[in-house]
């Protein structure tokens, strides 16, 4: 049966910014979908507000709308494009919710657009908890006993029946937002009321506790002929009670007999059919009582999910790609399995390896947040690994995390660790729980004890116990012979772990030389969907150690084309996310087109880079020195490696550059010595001095005394931070000596090898971010971005505008001059990112990073110049002039010389504050600072700043209000600057609320306002007012570490929990006023990126 011929044009809805629970897996799925639909000859329109995605690259759709994913904006896109169908099952919960809203508003009917994949009824059957429970009951399976509640009274009645503990699950939220487990009446009150608020339909499910049960997931696909296949089973090591996104998970399921598995498979298939997902993928979660095997269905997602991305990478079966084909009418047996090239997609992948996924957390970014893992997802990313057994995969996954600990025994045990303490700790889910398991076993706990405390299946506990036993052997063996070393490697131990047990081997390098001398090296196997039953065409590899010295490696020789290795960026974390993956993918595309064979190394299953279609070869491996070196060895053995690219994947590969170069690996682009020049403050200071560029006064210190001396000399406030970090980790603005002392005490734990930097903090400066290319003789300014928040807010958290909105010509010239001086001074070959602060007409250099930055995709889209592609070419020898000549870069000018008619693009950060609570259940502070906290970003692009800003706010936080009440409370130093924007708001008809001090100033300036009580002034204060929904927007600028900050904390967390805009800088307020004005005028339209870029290039005088 061929594809449907009544669908010619499909609108794909993306998932918007990266947030906790919805990350770049939807870029992976959406990109695959767009690619497939276009290959099938369909017109593809796309809407997604996230500029860092590959899918929003203009070549992936016919019309790409970087617009907010709200029903209003998507309706505008539908009106402009008139698609035949909408595919909303590949854009996460955001896309699905938007589709439901469009249906409810009658938009789909009005424009006669069909929802393909899953229709409205199926979406509601899958997502509406009561309907879903009824369906499961109908097919004869069980769900946990429960009731749907719409009010606190109903909640209390239900709990009186079920008894505590209970699980609270709000309907229609993603990543388990707002859900949790209540053990006490107080917890119940708090969680259920939050849950009712978080649910767009004010609905929560109160459910019997299945805490501690075994947890499983199945990924299924169905075609229109009702053929169903199970792509993958996934087992959570953390039992029920920890969100699956926060659990360590394993594929395939490890502890099910065939009988149990087949019952689960049958129920999964029956559920899928009964819910009525017509075509495509879905994911179903199950819990099994370990004592008697009773199985209950927990939930299903009638769409592609994070787990489907994991399952696709784990099995080699591309779920999203196949789902897109099924949506337009193909059946599974008509679709070819890419990997074998011969067999059809109507089969179930079988694995001859074990896959482990470990979540990556960022609690260090949110002081006060409760790190206990619950049913609300808190992790910001994940790494996956593939090994030939569980322990090998686990070891690889743990060392992929980019945390201080890189596997067992790589950090000292915490002081005062006792067995009883560890067992107690194991009772609740926490980051690093498996480390706790290992410590407990090592201190003498039995498998049964650990199982009892943690609920982790004894099989998994015993696997870790096998590593404890192996550790004993490794420590006591008189010599490390080949056989023992092989067994250690086969159990997933890294050279570094072995070195920790055998001090006489002189560290990791010593273990490696011994290992190589004994010929103990990994072989590379292939992910082939079929356990080697059929030959695989796709070079998707992973390393494994075998006992057999003659074990075969499956990497085929390739000697015709020169090979380039691209090192990816590892798990997403705050400060290093999808933007770096974007650049790596672009390098692969550009170099492939230029005739190189591209080889990707990465361990993040969510990404486009780890799609086997992206590069010529894919190695799914940890990005540690040891693992990368073995990949390089494998590639050198099978052909000629002309270069390894380290500057596109963020700090992770950059950190490996020097060591790789030291052992002779050819690093292309900016050499490691130049990287050092930019990253070492002393060396960089000399570059600046010799170029005559000013920088804020600074010094480096290794002790409090040293830091104090520097701070006294340059004056408070000072910005303190450890060197060599990304995302402003551990960075703080310090106003006094006491705080400085406290900081130094903590900072030494952040990064012991590197000193602390103490900088003069430039109050009230404008921060400027520049992305540039340098080929050694010419510098191309990709884009000059002006931050909307002042310096001091991390650039990743600050909104910014491109082209800059307030910079004059002389400022731009200074930016160009300085950037060129730095690029040449450092010796950049490829990309460079520089941050400046402009204060009193002096352009200070804050820092320079000789690598791709977070803003590369944003700049590339806003200026129609693919910076990462150009950088990759430059690294392999192309010049900017050549790239201009071949049309990759504009023939003349650059991103600092945009034509006057260029659109304005605004980038806004998306912050995860509402995900976190203190252990007492209070919100965490949403105040911005020098340490990055955002998980993602959106882009608003339009003809004017106001419109673009309004779009950016709509895309990130819902929307700016156009009427109602605004609460204003600002620090004294901001009072003058506040008058004008607040006056405008009053003129627009907003009622202005203010605390007494601020009100006084406003009234004196002729702005009518209502005084409200401060938080500590008793009943009916501003915090109550916000919580009750009586305020539409908050402008609150705090200062210092003193009084107003505390009040501000309550105000800001209340605003965050109500999901209303909360503006914490005066510049942000001014921008918001621009945006509100644009919204009130209501003339904001939508335009595809292709049209915007074509117009820009035409203005620039080049061909599109």
């Amino acid at each position: 049966m061929p594809k449907r011929d009544d669908i010619k044009h499909v609108l794909v809805i993306g998932s918007g910014p990266i947030v906790i629970g919805q990350a770049c897996e939807f870029d992976y799925s959406g990109t695959q979908a767009c690619r497939v639909l276009r290959e099938e000859g369909l017109r593809v329109s796309l809407v997604n507000s996230n500029p860092a995605t590959i899918m929003t690259d203009p070549e992936f759709a016919d019309a790409t709308y970087i617009e907010p994913i709200t029903p209003d904006f998507v309706e505008k896109v539908i009106a402009a494009e008139r698609p035949d169908a909408i595919l909303a099952t590949l854009g996460g919960q955001t896309a699905l919710n938007t589709a439901v809203a469009l249906h409810e508003r009658g938009v789909l009917e009005k424009y006669n657009v069909e929802l393909i994949g899953a229709d409205i009824d199926a979406i509601q059957r899958g997502e509406d908890r009561q309907k879903f429970k009824d369906i499961v009951a109908q097919i004869g399976a069980e769900t946990p006993r429960s009731r749907v509640c719409h009010s606190m009274d109903e909640v209390r009645d239900t709990v009186a029946e079920l008894g505590l503990p209970v699980v609270i699950r709000p309907s229609f939220t993603m990543g388990g937002l707002g859900s949790g487990m209540a053990h006490t009446a107080a917890e119940l009150e708090r969680l259920a009321s939050t849950g009712l608020t978080e649910s767009p339909v004010t609905e929560v499910l109160i459910e019997e506790s299945v805490l501690g049960w075994k947890e499983y997931e199945l990924e299924l696909m169905r075609d229109k002929h009702d053929n169903v296949v199970v792509i993958c089973s996934i087992e959570n090591i953390d039992p029920m009670g920890v969100h699956t996104g926060d659990s360590v998970t394993v594929a395939p399921a490890m502890t099910l007999t065939d009988r149990e598995f087949q019952v689960m498979r049958n129920v999964g298939i029956d559920v899928l059919r009964a819910v009525g997902v017509d075509t495509g993928g879905c994911n179903i979660q199950f819990a099994i009582n370990p004592a008697n095997g009773r199985m209950v269905v927990i939930e299903m997602n009638p769409r592609v999910s994070r787990s489907s991305a994991l399952a696709s990478k784990a099995t080699g079966f591309p779920i999203a790609k196949i789902a897109a084909k099924l949506a337009i009418g193909y059946t599974l047996d008509e679709i070819r399995n890419d990997i074998t090239g011969e067999t059809p997609a109507s089969f179930e992948p079988t694995l001859d390896y074990v896959v482990v996924k470990v979540p990556r957390f960022a609690f260090e970014k949110f002081p006060g947040a409760d790190p206990t893992l619950t049913t609300t997802m808190k992790s910001v990313g994940e790494a996956m690994s593939i090994g030939r057994n569980f322990v090998e995969a686990l070891g690889k996954a743990l060392r992929s995390m980019e945390t201080k600990a890189v596997g067992f025994w790589t950090t000292p045990d915490p002081e005062g660790t006792t067995l009883d303490g560890l067992l107690e700790q194991l009772r609740a889910g926490h980051d690093g729980r498996l480390y706790t398991v290992e410590r407990a076993l090592r201190l003498g706990a039995t498998v049964a004890q650990v199982h009892e405390a943690s609920g982790i299946d004894p099989w998994f506990v015993d696997q870790i116990a096998s590593l404890v036993d192996l550790r004993g052997e490794l420590e006591t063996a008189p010599v490390l012979d080949e056989q023992l070393l092989r067994r250690a490697k086969r159990s997933g131990l890294s050279d570094r772990q072995i070195a920790a047990l055998r001090p006489e081997l002189a560290g990791e390098d010593g273990v490696r030389s011994l290992r190589h001398r004994l010929g103990v090296r990994p072989v590379f196997k292939t992910v082939d969907t079929c356990a080697a039953e059929f030959a695989a065409l796709t070079p998707y590899h992973y390393s494994a150690y075998e006992l057999d010295p003659g074990a075969e490696t499956e990497v085929l020789p390739q000697t015709e084309k020169p090979k380039v290795l691209i090192l990816g960026s590892g798990p997403n974390r705050i400060g290093q996310g999808i933007e770096f993956d974007y650049s790596c993918v672009h390098a692969a595309m550009a170099l492939r087109a230029a005739g190189y064979e591209t080889v990707m190394v990465n361990c993040n299953p969510e990404t486009v880079s780890t799609d086997y279609d992206t590069s010529d070869r894919l190695y799914f491996e940890p990005l540690t020195f040891e693992d990368v070196l073995e990949v390089v060895h494998s590639e050198q053995a099978s052909g000629t490696v002309v270069g390894v690219i380290v500057q596109l994947g963020g700090q992770t590969p950059l950190g490996l550059a020097q060591r790789l170069a030291d052992v002779g690996v050819p690093i292309v682009g900016t050499p490691p010595s130049a990287i050092h020049l930019a990253e070492d403050r002393g060396a960089f200071g000399e570059v600046l001095t010799s170029a005559g560029l000013p920088a804020p006064k600074f010094g480096t210190a290794t002790s409090f005394a040293g830091a104090k001396r520097i701070a006294d000399e340059i004056g408070y406030p000072v910005l303190v931070r450890p060197s060599y970090v990304l995302g402003g980790r551990g960075m703080e603005i310090v106003y006094d000596e006491q705080t400085l002392a406290g900081y130094i005490k903590r900072a030494t734990e952040v990064s012991p090898e590197h000193p602390v930097l103490v900088d003069r903090f430039l109050d009230d400066a404008i921060e400027i971010d520049v992305d540039a290319l340098c080929d050694g003789t010419e510098v191309y300014l990709g884009g000059v971005m002006e931050h909307i928040e002042e310096a001091g807010i991390h650039s990743g958290d600050s909104a910014c505008a491109l082209p800059p909105i307030t910079l004059g010509r002389t400022d731009m010239e200074a930016v160009r001059r300085s950037t060129e001086a730095i690029a040449f001074g450092v010796g950049v070959l490829g990309l460079l990112n520089v941050q400046y602060a402009l204060k009193d007409d002096v352009l200070y250099v804050l820092e320079a990073n000789p690598r791709a930055s977070r803003t590369v995709p944003f700049v590339s889209k806003a200026t129609a110049a693919p910076l990462a592609k150009a950088a990759a070419r430059i690294m392999l020898g192309a010049t900017i002039a050549e790239l201009r000549a071949e049309g990759m870069l504009p023939a003349t000018g650059d991103g600092a010389l945009l034509p006057p008619g260029a659109p304005v693009a605004v980038k806004e950060a998306v912050l995860p504050f509402h995900r976190f609570r203190t252990p007492e259940g209070q919100g965490v502070d949403s105040l911005l600072g020098p340490e990055m906290k955002s998980t993602g970003e959106v882009m608003g692009i339009d003809v004017s700043f106001g419109k673009a800003f309004a779009k950016s706010q709509t895309a990130s936080y819902g929307s700016l209000p156009t009427s109602g009440r605004v609460f204003v409370s600002v620090a004294n130093r901001d009072k003058r600057a506040m008058v004008f924007p607040v006056k405008r708001l009053a003129d627009f008809g907003f009622e202005v609320l203010a605390t007494s001090g601020t009100a006084e100033v406003l009234r004196r300036n002729g702005i009518p306002c209502t005084v409200v009580r401060k938080h500590f002034e008793g009943e009916d204060n501003i915090v109550d007012l916000i919580r009750d929904g009586g305020v539409e927007m908050v402008i609150n600028t705090p200062y210092g570490n003193h009084g107003p900050r505390v009040d501000g904390y309550e105000i800001r967390t209340a605003a965050v929990s109500r999901d209303i805009p909360c503006i914490t800088t005066i510049q942000g307020a001014a921008a918001a006023v621009h945006g509100i004005e644009a919204l009130i005028r209501d003339d904001i339209g939508v335009r595809p990126l292709q049209a915007l870029q074509a117009a820009l290039l035409a203005d620039w005088g080049t061909e599109a």
């Binding site: 049966m1 002929h225 009702d226 053929n227 296949v229 199970v230 395939p252 399921a253 490890m254 502890t255 099910l256 007999t257 065939d258 009988r259 598995f261 087949q262 498979r265 049958n266 004592a291 008697n292 095997g293 059946t331 047996d333 011969e342 067999t343 059809p344 109507s346 089969f347 179930e348 079988t350 694995l351 001859d352 390896y353 074990v354 030939r388 057994n389 569980f390 498998v447 299946d457 099989w459 015993d462 696997q463 096998s466 036993d469 192996l470 052997e473 067994r487 159990s491 196997k525 079929c530 356990a531 080697a532 039953e533 059929f534 030959a535 075998e546 006992l547 057999d548 074990a551 075969e552």
Partner: protein, 400 residues
């Protein structure tokens, strides 16, 4: 895995001279058989006790084996049939609420020699390229020089031409009662039947009379069955002349007949089709089968080294009227089912009883029931079975 005290060296020696070194697993000693790989990720207990694996050394492609131990319910027959078991990473401790002992205990208890620590993927790739072949596992004191071991491997008989069904069949007939009210009686010829087959029949109100492979047509007819079932089983179907003749007798009498796996090859041969040995067979629980009539795909459990010749969807003439190749595997076009169009008989190459494996094909038992119902509806009672030509031509519609 890391307990040195129990580590005993072992070797797997293939007929073509390749040797894989590993550690003893299960019983220590020597074993021989045809080496085949199975790609199932679950159900090793069912696999090991499946009589179709008689005289075969099975390689598990799934690396972690034994995790759920061994229980008292999942055996597919009275014993472990595989002649040897090759795995990569056996579990140190089993974990499952039904488990009563470890896999290792079960293997040792039944004297089954295994080997662990093997690069099973390299081995599978080797077998994929070179085909199933004879092999031996030698461990502990039985380890010898490679040449000596190889010579012993080359002395064992090949699978082609092996008649094994008689070796695995029951000696005496026995009855598995229907669950609830008895609706039909079926005579099942035991060529290596698995426990789950009578269980599936019983669930449909069928009383199953399991008969030895050596039973005569008269023995079969004496059961006065509403239908005849041909089970799975080991060996080369070209040697199964007795079963083929028996089947032809059943076809002549228009008694509804259903065959699976080896039974499919028997029915095919009875209808005049040839059989051949596949290079490395189909052994797994993820194998797609397309029903020619409906185009529906079933994911099936399979375990066969031989297959029927034939072209999917093509009708052919037989002594019993027209027949058709009703099912095939889209991976390689292999015949997966045949159906007689003028007598009530059909069979599939896969395992609808699915233990281990997915239950997609369970409806085939219902189709068998339908054949028997039609026969009853048309007043052809079991007592009339003896009269050739009774009954009416069948509806040719297959599928679900």
């Amino acid at each position: 895995m890391s307990d040195t005290s129990t580590r005993t060296a072992a070797a797997l020696v293939l007929e073509d001279g390749r040797v894989f070194r590993g550690e003893a697993f299960g019983a220590t000693g020597t074993t021989f058989g045809e080496i085949v790989f199975c790609t199932a990720m679950t159900g090793y207990q069912e696999t090991l006790t499946d009589p179709s694996y008689h005289r075969q050394i099975v390689v598990a492609t799934a690396p972690q084996i034994g995790n759920t131990g061994w229980n008292d319910e999942d055996d597919e027959s009275g014993r472990i049939w595989v002649s040897g078991y090759v795995v990569r990473d056996p579990a140190r401790v089993p974990s499952n609420w039904r488990s009563t002992r470890s896999l290792d205990d079960a293997l040792v208890g039944q004297g089954v020699v295994g080997i662990s620590g093997i690069d099973t993927r390299s081995l599978t790739r080797h077998l994929r390229e070179r085909g199933a072949m004879r092999a031996g596992v030698f461990s502990g004191g039985d380890l010898a020089e490679p040449e000596a071991m190889l010579q012993r491997v080359r002395e064992i008989p090949a699978m082609a031409g092996a008649e094994l069904a008689g070796e695995v069949s029951t000696d005496k007939s026995y009855v598995v009662p229907a669950t609830g009210e008895r609706r039909f009686r079926v005579a099942a010829l035991d060529l290596g039947i698995k426990s789950n087959t009578p269980r599936m029949l019983a669930a449909r109100g069928i009383e199953t009379h399991v008969l030895p492979a050596t039973s005569s047509l008269d023995d079969l007819l004496a059961v006065e069955a509403d239908g005849v079932f041909l089970s799975n089983g080991p060996g080369d179907p070209a040697t199964a002349d007795h079963a083929v003749a028996l089947t032809q007798g059943v076809l002549e009498r228009r008694i509804p007949l259903f065959g699976i796996c080896f039974g499919n090859q028997i029915l095919g041969r009875a209808l005049g089709l040839g059989t051949y040995k596949l290079r490395y067979g189909h052994r797994g629980i993820n194998i797609p089968v397309i029903d020619v009539a409906t185009r529906a795909v079933a994911i099936t459990a399979q375990n066969h080294g031989f297959a029927l010749e034939g072209e999917p969807g093509k009708d052919f003439d037989t002594p019993f009227g027209k027949a058709t190749v009703s099912h095939y595997c889209p991976n390689d076009g292999c015949v997966e089912g045949v159906r007689a169009l003028e007598v009530p008989a059909f069979s599939v190459q896969y395992h609808p009883e699915a233990a281990a494996g997915p239950h997609d094909a369970a409806n085939l038992f219902d189709q068998f029931v339908t054949l028997m119902e039609e026969r009853v509806r048309d007043n052809v009672l079991p007592s009339q079975v003896g009269r050739p030509g009774a009954g009416v031509p069948l509806n040719t519609e297959g599928g679900k």
